[in-house]
Symmetry: C2
Subunit: 141 residues, 2 copies
Amino acid sequence: MKPHVSIVTLGVSDLARSRAFYEKLGFCASSASQGDIVFFQAGVLALALYPRTALAEDAMVPAEGGGFRGLTLAHNVRDKAEVAAVLEEAAGAGGTIAKPAQDVFWGGHSGYFADPDGHLWEVAWNPHLIPDANGAVTLPP
Amino acid sequence: MKPHVSIVTLGVSDLARSRAFYEKLGFCASSASQGDIVFFQAGVLALALYPRTALAEDAMVPAEGGGFRGLTLAHNVRDKAEVAAVLEEAAGAGGTIAKPAQDVFWGGHSGYFADPDGHLWEVAWNPHLIPDANGAVTLPP
């Protein structure tokens, strides 16, 4: 297996609501979106929205589940002040602030928002991990 | 918000077990890994492993939750035959095959495995979305 992720698919309960949320945040739906799937170019990967129950069916797993997903997405930013700005934008688009922007123990500054289905995004300024213009990050070997 | 994802963090119940699982699959831990966090370069983003309860604390959300996460990661491959090969590799490393490799309705070929904590990965060959050497995919506008 080559170590890479190509797509993150979020299972959603209301496709139109989630599409509107991500579009308000600046994601542009690709013309490859069709039927029940919405694709956004997210830097160099794809972010997809798909009905939650259909996603479970696709993976052939039971759809039951709730609470903490045990997984977070991070949106790294280039400037410390962007953290609070992005969180505010997410709240304005209909998201929920789980953790307001604050200095954190590892030397950065971050906060979290939840999308309309509770999917958690960390918005982080990490002085050791500044993304390039595409949001890509390069770790030391 | 610029539309990008920089890091996917998986909450795990046994850091050593999960690290060994992903290393068997070909992910190389970065020297930026320290304490309770493991970072892998995953194409142009970072895949991180962090204890599940600590991840919930970091996001300031209750840690309770289980069942279907409502989110999947996709590992797109360049050749159809790679799908079954990667699934077999994942099973050999201690993962569980949720869906064996098969032709799917959208014209591709895919299957799913679950990592030791149940995080679901789709392994997919999509003739319309072939990744570059870094696993990056480019959608039509």
